[in-house]
Amino acid sequence: MQTRTIRAWTWVHKWSSLISTIFLLMLCVTGLPLVFTHEIDEVLLHQQWEPARSDGEKLNLDQVLEMALSRHPGDVAVFMSFDEDRPVVNVTSIDPGGPAGAYNFQPIDQTSGEPAPPVAGHPAMEFLLQLHTDMFLGLPGMLFLGLMGLLLVAALVSGVVLYAPFMRRLPFGTVRASKAARTRWLDYHNLLGAVTLAWVLVVGLTGVVNTLATPIIAYWKDTALAELTAAYDIPVAAGERASLDAAVKRAQAALPGMKLQFVAFPGSTYSTDHHYAVFFHGDTPLTTHLTTPALIDARTGELAAVASVPWYVKTLSLSQPLHFGDYGGLPLKILWALLDLATIVILISGLYLWLAKPKKKP
């Protein structure tokens, strides 16, 4: 490789790393406990709850919805989701005349209609998640972190290119422990970078995709879902809607074998002004992250379409487990944590190598 080429790649590696290091360090440090969110929440939150009538008949979804909205008069329903391990239906509603984004979230015991305790994360974990996701800056924060992720990819690619000239006389894994500290740390930096490349690349790229979740969903709604609403003119008023329970049963009949995930009400983010969007997912590790919505005409209760999920929404769905590492049980989580620690060492050693670089003589 020519000296000029090496210099150019060194420039890319140095600046892509230096600009993003502090943010990548924050992401690695906050991501470490987040890998074990489920386990930490279980230890910190001792929630014991039993349904009112564990063997009793469940209320239908229209009854649950009516009870939920009666507790917040004037609200309109936005989403309804379903807990997997307890008979609880979560109703999210909003006051159309109230402040934007001020949602009311009500977990409801489906055996009695009484409120159930929310399954919320521990405040400390919620704080870390928010910091990790958008640094409390909303969409601009997410997109900024996505940009830092792209810089990470640039640093990885340039690191691979530069690996060859640095290692051309050293067998794989050589650590010159008896040499000066900077040489020693250069070897550790190269070794750690070489063995963790696949994991860092996958977690980095999927992190970038995850930061695009809001625009991806908005684009999907504006294009693919908009085609389904072309035949409609006036949005369906709440009083004109068909039975929710029947709509969900109709959707389940159209997608047999799939698990009910959530319902988006007409006018909400994940639906149109004219449909109940009933979302299902599969039950294998792969398909559990791939959702398929069935659109039910909210006025007639008839099946309007089983919307095919476009490639970019599938990519977003698959990016989530590959970023969080929560799909292969505890062994995979432990590896995720160890590789996260290795990445922290790479970032700090990279910073050290830059700071300890011999100054050019004037």
């Binding site: 690996y163 060859a164 290692m167 051309r168 006389r169 050293l170 067998p171 794989f172 894994g173 050589t174 650590v175 010159r176 422990a177 008896s178 070794l191 750690l192 070489a194 063995v195 963790t196 490349l197 696949a198 994991w199 996958v202 294998t284 590790p285 792969l286 698959l318 487990p321 590959l322 799909y327 292969g328 049980g329 062994p331 995979l332 590896l335 160890l338 590789l339 290795a342």
Partner: protein, 60 residues
């Protein structure tokens, strides 16, 4: 005495193998449950195994 430069296979051989195994582990655990969770973890763990081997055997 100058040492001869290593070829691309000698430089990138082990990192490429670890890259491939790790990627298989990451995707394999996503495709299947049960046994594949363990196989996936083992394949991804090859990266840490290579690290431990290098630190143990190649530290000089």
């Amino acid at each position: 005495m100058s040492r001869k430069d290593l070829g691309p296979r000698a430089i990138f051989g082990v990192p490429a193998l670890v890259f491939g195994l790790s990627l298989c582990g990451l995707i394999g655990a996503l495709l299947e449950d049960g046994l594949w969770d363990w196989i996936g973890a083992a394949l991804l763990g090859s990266s840490l195994l290579a690290l431990a081997w290098a630190i143990g055997a190649r530290r000089r």
